[in-house]
């Protein structure tokens, strides 16, 4: 019952959304100006490398709705942007359904990358916005995300499998007790029913248990 890992998506078909800072920043705020320029450079870099930017969204009240509509494969945001808190709301609201978020910063100290990843930060702090450095970073971020998702799925599968087995064991015990079947016979009967009704074995077991509870 092991689910196959999702095939790696070639980076050029990744549907990327960039959460942008204020596109027309207040002239009196130098930080906002720098941030807008950094974001512009990043967009140009990504476009030149053939990335599929499906939208550039401002961090306003509509961001959660827009992200839900577009359902991008990856969200890119400047690490030093106010927009991150709006994105945090989306992360919180969709915590069951994770999506890689890549943080960009012009911080040249790469030791923070390792520290951020080790600390379990939701994203990756990477040095520099130089276009030629963008691709490997996105590839690594996506690969790592898929790896983690794979592990997460395996864990979920293992949990389901365990609870399935418990159900089947209880259903077998019922059949053994009430119909005097052997364990093999009980299992064979469950399997046959599952095939006839086109149900999962665990579902048949669950139904049997439910009905048996009802009948007392």
């Amino acid at each position: 019952m092991k689910a196959p890992l999702r095939p790696a998506i070639p980076s050029t078909t990744l549907r990327i959304v960039i959460v942008a800072p204020d596109l027309a920043p207040d002239a009196s705020d130098p930080d906002a100006g720098t941030e807008a320029e950094r974001s512009r450079a990043l967009r140009i870099g990504l476009l030149e490398h053939g990335y599929n930017i499906v939208a550039v969204l401002p961090a306003d009240v509509f961001l959660p709705d827009r992200l839900a509509q577009i359902a991008p494969d990856m969200i890119i945001v400047d690490a030093e942007s106010q927009a991150r808190d709006t994105l945090e709301h989306v992360v919180m609201a969709t915590r069951e359904e994770r999506r890689p978020i890549v943080l960009f910063t012009n911080d040249d100290d790469t030791t923070h990358v390792g520290a951020a990843i080790a600390a379990g930060v939701t994203a990756y702090v990477v040095a520099g916005l130089a276009p030629e450095r963008v691709k490997p970073v996105l590839d690594v971020a996506m690969a790592r995300f898929q790896h983690e998702e794979g592990l997460r799925r395996e864990l979920a599968d293992a949990r389901t499998e365990l609870s399935d087995r418990k159900l089947i064991d209880r259903a077998k015990a019922l059949l053994i007790r009430h119909h005097g079947l052997s364990e093999e016979e009980a299992y064979a009967r469950l399997r046959r029913t599952a095939m006839e009704k086109r149900l999962k074995l665990a579902d048949v077991a669950q139904r049997l248990i439910d009905v048996s509870d009802l009948l007392g």
Binding site: D22, A27, S28, D29, P30, D31, E35, A59, D60, V61, F62, P64, A79, E80, S81, Q82, A83, R84, D85, T86, L87, E88, H89, V91, M92, R95, L103, H112, A115, A116, A118, A119, G120, V121, T122, V125
Partner: protein, 415 residues
């Protein structure tokens, strides 16, 4: 407009310089360290403290500007941050040593709510009071000027209502959810709750994207100055002397650098004491933090409410004795366990955590009561007897920290 601002800016810079000079005179023997060089010498001298440009970053900034840090043998480097998420990540990975941070955020990281999980520490409360909930002018024109009248307007005219706060686990989220619920409005079912950075609140409300928001000053007053919103309630009217920002760090930092931690706490406590000492100091503080390296706003957006002079944008003005406080004879700073637990009860109430946590134990792990007591006693600051306090909130419900599970489950309106 721009020219005007520049003129302001240079005036402020001059005043800032003056403030720094007078402070040097204010602290005699600045270079004689107060700590006894030896066992309690700070292990780490430079301490990077992150802050978000809001009025209540003042005690961190003033500790550095006035040189209180040097008095205790450390050097505070205030580091301006763009987002609470950034503050969190940098605390977790060690780029920042400490931060001026939302109470609930520290608890969220300790529990790993939708993000990194790491043992965190609340060293002290930085301020009480001084946040506000703003409703749009458009809503006010329809008669929505407080909780009950907002509920009436929302019931009469059905549409999607949007209310914003600044961080999902933060203080402003909890204040606005609590207030809406106290008026019978479920913040998630009857309205839409979103997160928006403080400086963008006013802009979003101006274009009509938002019906209300809760944020720290100067943004509540700014909305009134710009004529786009009214103050429906101040947070001190939701909970008098509520805990707001804290001085936060990681559990590891406290263990590794206990003396540095104590020294920084002393410097910031002294800065808080200095700010609350009188009118002149508050004015100087407002001039300093209004500068573009800190809050980046006109000083007139800060100095009214810092002095307790409030207007609601509808012609009503009043003097509020429960304005933003940084020290208040030490009553502000004690990290009551019941304060920390309150944020957990609200996180549970609104579904940010699924199960009841071990409220008391989590608060004991995070809030550094013993450390605070040792610092306070060295500075002769009085400390309350009990680690819990009793408060009555706007809906009349009393919170005393005694039965957090029952309290959290007891609200009629919840997620």
């Amino acid at each position: 407009m721009t020219i005007d601002r520049k003129a302001h800016m240079s005036r402020r810079t001059v005043i800032k310089a003056a403030a720094a000079t007078s402070a040097a005179g204010l602290v005699p023997g600045l270079n004689t360290a107060v700590y006894a060089a030896g066992s309690d010498k700070p292990e780490k001298e430079e301490v990077r403290i992150g802050f978000i440009p809001l009025t209540d970053c003042a005690s961190v900034v003033m500790a550095s500007v006035l040189g209180f840090d040097k008095k205790y043998g450390v050097k505070i480097i205030p580091t301006k941050e763009a987002s609470w998420a950034g503050v969190r990540d940098k605390l977790v990975n060690g780029e920042l040593d400490m931060a001026h941070v939302l109470y609930g955020l520290i608890y969220g990281v300790h529990l790993g709510i939708a993000g990194p999980k790491k043992d965190m520490a609340v060293l002290m409360t930085l301020n009480n009071n001084g946040q506000a909930i703003t409703l749009s002018k458009k809503l006010a024109d329809k008669g929505a000027v407080d909780g009950p009248s907002l509920a009436k307007v929302m019931a009469a005219e059905k549409r999607e209502y949007t209310f914003a706060q600044t961080f999902p686990t933060g203080t402003h989220a909890m204040w606005i959810y609590y207030w809406l619920a106290s008026a019978g409005i479920n913040p998630f079912k009857d309205a839409k709750a979103i997160t928006v950075p403080p400086p963008q609140m006013v802009a979003n409300m101006r274009v009509g994207n938002m019906d209300g928001f809760c944020v720290g000053e100067p943004w509540g007053h700014r909305a009134i100055m710009d004529g786009i919103g009214i103050t429906a309630v101040t947070t001190q009217d939701i909970w008098k002397d509520h805990p707001e920002k804290v001085l936060g760090t990681t559990g590891d930092f406290v263990k590794k650098y206990p003396n540095t931690t104590r020294a920084v706490m002393m410097a910031i406590l002294e800065a808080g004491r200095w700010i609350d000492a009188g009118l002149q100091n508050k004015m100087k503080m407002a001039e300093t933090v209004a500068d573009k390296s800190y809050v980046n706003t006109g000083v007139d957006a800060i100095n009214q409410r810092i002095l307790g002079r409030y207007q609601n944008g509808l012609g009503k003005t009043w003097d509020d004795p429960n304005h933003m406080k940084f020290f208040n004879d030490g009553a502000v700073n004690f990290p009551y366990l019941s304060d920390g637990m309150w944020f957990l009860t609200q996180h549970k109430r609104w579904g940010l955590i699924k199960e009841h946590p071990d409220y008391l134990n989590v608060a004991k792990q995070i809030n550094q009561i013993d450390l605070y007591k040792s610092v306070a006693s060295a500075m002769k600051i009085s400390v309350p007897k009990d680690v819990m306090r009793t408060s009555k909130l706007i809906d009349g419900v009393v919170w005393d920290g005694k039965d957090p599970k029952k309290y959290a489950d007891g609200f009629a309106i919840k997620a």
